[in-house]
Amino acid sequence: MIANATSPNHLQLTRDGQLRHFLTLDGLGRELLTDILDTADSFIEVGERRIKKVPLLRGRTVVNLFFESSTRTRSTFELAAKRLSADVLNLDINTSATSKGESLSDTLLNLEAMASDMFVVRHAQSGAPHFIAESVTPGVAIINAGDGRHAHPTQAMLDMLTIRQHKGTFEGLKVAIVGDVLHSRVARSQIRALNELGAEQIRVIAPGTLLPSDVESLGCTVEYDMARGMKDLDVVIMLRLQKERMEGALLPSEREFYRLYGLSQEKLALAHPECIVMHPGPINRGVEIESAVADGPQSVILNQVTNGIAIRMAVMSMAMGGQVAERQQKLTELTERGLA
């Protein structure tokens, strides 16, 4: 864990409360989260036009800095930046060989020398985007695309957008997050967002071995029995079993996991008849979710992908907007004091 010296909000918000980086949902209030969702709604409309592009980030350079591989997240960030008219540079950096702290600083210095305006960062270490935001040149926006087990705020927000699209509101909703919560940065961000936006009940459903010890302190209830947990649900969010992150025997077997915590048609029938089924992808068919459910009428999994582009456009343009407005404000102040 890289030390978090500065509080996230001091770092990611301007004096006026606008985004300048997007690192975590911690400390972002309901109004700002709603502004992000509303802005994304407008970008969804842009995505339906003949020309799916707006000129907001024209002439700016966005670097996708992926220290950990990802197909969906990286490609939707890339498409989002391109639809905002930015120039995009994709860098996949394998960190396993080098000393991380040092290579990170050096990489950053080189990229800043290329006059980049925004870094979209994915890193296996919790706190890496925060660390970069602390040390980067003023005016450069940092977007967290997933860090360690800490947070994946754009994924959580695209899930919130999907829920709002289908349910209209968060008030009174019963939502469950099922599966590998222990290794999931998404689950943490989702619980945070659902609480802030006013969901009525947030349940996590998982075996004890796949839950962090402090999970209830995040603001949710725990259910070990899936049949009980599915009752009256409006939204069920399945998590991917992160086999690549598992050390030792946390699971008896995939088959056993599916029997207990996989989402089958039978288990889904226990929820509210209009319950929607979500999954951040990539899905392991037959491990977390039955194919008939993933492809079924209650599944909104592909909506999530479309919404991912709109949410990323919203967050990128808002953070860049916060940066430029802040710079302009400082310049005005300097001019007024006769210093510029």
Binding site: V324, A325, Q328
Partner: protein
């Protein structure tokens, strides 16, 4: 604050100007597009007066503004909605007030991302002059010259009224 302009008279003038222009150009089935917020209210009234049955479009130009690099993104952007295909159509673009011309430039850039219209006519309820770009309305309800401390604001939608405000300078 005062409401010195009679909105019905301005609308009469806009309507008459548009009828004349549409006839001159042999345009039989134009569509209306209003710029949020005031332009949408004016487009609504014009649609009824001109007997255009197709629902009008609404543009939110926030993503096309040329001052993003100075003030950032409008936090209250709402989705634009064009309930028709603009390709090959004759469009009447409507705003409440025209001044610098920058809003209209942004609106035209946005319109062209939906397709290539056959033509665009620009209608503005009030023309304040002070243009910064070579953009002129084809039809306007009233030309107005304001003193430096004066602002004009359309309130609506029901009833629609024009307010002249004196700002402290």
């Amino acid at each position: 604050m005062s409401a010195l302009l009679d909105i019905d008279q301005l609308m009469d003038k806009l309507e008459a100007g548009l009828r004349r222009l549409l006839k001159e150009r042999n345009i039989e089935s134009p569509v209306l597009v209003g710029i949020r917020t005031g332009g949408v209210w004016v487009a609504d009234i014009l649609g009824k007066r001109l007997g255009i049955e197709e629902p009008f479009g609404e543009l939110d130009i926030s993503f096309y503004r040329d001052d993003f690099s100075r003030i950032g993104l409008n936090p209250k952007v709402t989705p634009s909605s064009l309930p028709f295909d603009t390709e090959g159509r004759d469009i009447i673009l409507v705003d409440d007030v025209i001044m610098s011309g920058r809003t209209i430039r942004a609106a035209m850039n946005e319109l062209f991302d939906y397709g290539r219209p056959a033509s665009i006519i620009l209608a503005s309820l009030i023309d304040l002059g002070a243009r910064e770009l070579p953009i002129q309305p084809d039809v306007s309800g009233q030309a107005l010259e304001l003193a430096a401390q004066q602002r004009v604001k359309l309130r609506g939608p029901d009833p629609l009224r024009i307010e002249l405000q004196e700002t402290a300078q």
